[in-house]
């Protein structure tokens, strides 16, 4: 069984407060756990701090899969407890740039003056560029692909015996559509990753009105995300990467209105902090 827990669902900036208690204020971080105890962490936004406190002490290895290095996806990294535990091997995976290694790019944040501890001083951390070909981490089969978002950004498809989960938290596929048409899957950013996924966690940062003012910023509106999920044949959609200006009430309305508008054949679950999804082979 694959179990996914949302520890951070917010995009761009943490947004704690009374008005965001259900959807949460922490930025992107998702735990993926298999029955044998293997743990993957998707992104290292501020949600990773609490995620780190939930990892059993007996865990010897944790793999952190970064989609990209925008601040809302790495800000919590230095507060991830297992990084400082000499008994735990931490492997950090992320996209390459054309000039700097992942370690060098992460060190720009994990070093003074932005952070007191150097990445190189952490006990058992190994950085990897995500390979172009699929790879395995324990029982997980991991597929990656660069997707439509400013700067090197990957999406992930995680497959195990339990099922397949696709994670595309920052994604603007509509930008690459020809004449705005959802057709020709080979030309749809992220299609291979999301096709037929049992669970699709996908960027839904904006309303349609907001999107018009933010074209090219790398994010999707709720309705675009519903269209993407329908086109790829996802079985369940979790709108994710909520705009920091959207409070719980706004997000409830967005979800319900979009659901009513599209009446999707796939399931839709609110991307609330603390939400748990279990994928079990049937």
């Amino acid at each position: 069984m694959m179990r996914l827990t949302l520890f951070g669902t917010r995009g761009s900036l943490a947004a704690p407060g009374a008005e965001t208690t259900r959807y949460g204020g922490n930025t992107s971080s998702v735990e993926v756990r298999e029955s044998d105890g293997t743990v993957l962490v998707l992104d290292a936004g501020t949600g990773i701090r609490r995620l780190g406190t939930q990892i059993p002490p007996s865990t010897a290895r944790v793999d952190i899969l970064l989609t990209h290095l925008h601040m809302d996806h790495i800000q919590g990294l230095g507060f991830f407890g297992p990084l400082y535990d000499p008994r735990v091997d931490v492997h950090i995976w992320g996209p390459a740039s054309s000039t700097l290694s992942l370690e060098a790019r992460l060190s720009r944040y994990l070093s003074p003056p932005l952070f007191p501890v150097h990445l190189r001083d952490l006990p058992r951390v190994t950085c990897h560029h995500v390979p172009r070909l699929p790879f395995d981490i324990g029982p997980f089969h991991v597929q990656t692909s660069l997707v439509c978002h400013p700067g090197p950004t990957v999406g992930y498809r995680i497959q195990s015996e339990g099922g397949a989960a696709a994670y595309l938290p920052d994604h603007e596929p509509i930008l690459a559509l020809r004449n705005g048409q959802w057709r020709e899957p080979e030309w749809i950013s992220g299609y291979d990753l999301a096709a037929g996924a049992d669970l699709l966690i996908h960027d839904a940062q904006y309303t349609d009105e907001e999107y018009k003012q933010r074209v090219g910023w790398g994010h999707s509106s709720y309705s675009q995300t519903f269209k993407f999920a329908g086109y790829v044949g996802a079985k369940e959609l979790v709108p994710f990467h909520h705009d920091p200006s959207h409070d719980d009430e706004t997000l409830d309305h967005l979800l319900e209105n979009t659901r009513l508008q599209f009446q999707p054949r796939f399931g839709v679950s609110a991307g609330e902090e603390g939400a748990v999804f279990e994928l079990t082979s049937k």
């Binding site: 390459a96 054309s98 660069l146 439509c148 690459a176 020809r178 030309w187 749809i188 291979d192």
Partner: protein, 129 residues
């Protein structure tokens, strides 16, 4: 299987350019050309669709200054596909509409972040313009 994002975005960029652009994959198969290129090539992309390299390289008949056919290996795009380096040449093209047009062509490799060769794009310019 989806095209690499660099190819997807190149097609998107081409759609917003007035410069004719012709996009191929690493094997040289035609993936896309934009509306300005349709005028030079004499047919809409929606009519031709994607084409194997051997098909398009003979369909759009390239000729040298003397009117002799140019072998495929002398075409900038084919040079780029072979060498993974930019290439440039002036020649005459006979489009699918049968019209001869003198053009210059610059081709560039599309190389990914880890130096993987993903395809090539050729930018055209009609010399009579």
């Amino acid at each position: 299987m989806s095209h690499p994002i660099q190819i997807i975005l190149t097609r998107q960029l081409a759609g917003y350019l007035s410069v004719p652009l012709f996009l191929v994959n690493p094997k040289g198969d035609l993936l896309f050309y934009n509306e300005p290129a349709e005028i030079l090539l004499g047919r809409r992309f929606d009519e031709t669709g994607a084409m194997p390299a051997e098909e398009w390289s003979s369909a759009f008949t390239p000729l040298d200054d003397t009117g002799e056919p140019l072998p495929p290996e002398k075409l900038p795009l084919m040079i780029t596909l072979t060498t993974h380096r930019p290439a440039y040449r002036k020649f005459v093209i006979c489009g699918l509409d049968g019209v001869l047009r003198p053009i210059e062509v610059a081709s560039i490799p599309i190389t990914g972040l880890q130096d993987e060769f993903l395809g090539a794009a050729a930018l055209f310019w009609e010399l009579s313009q």
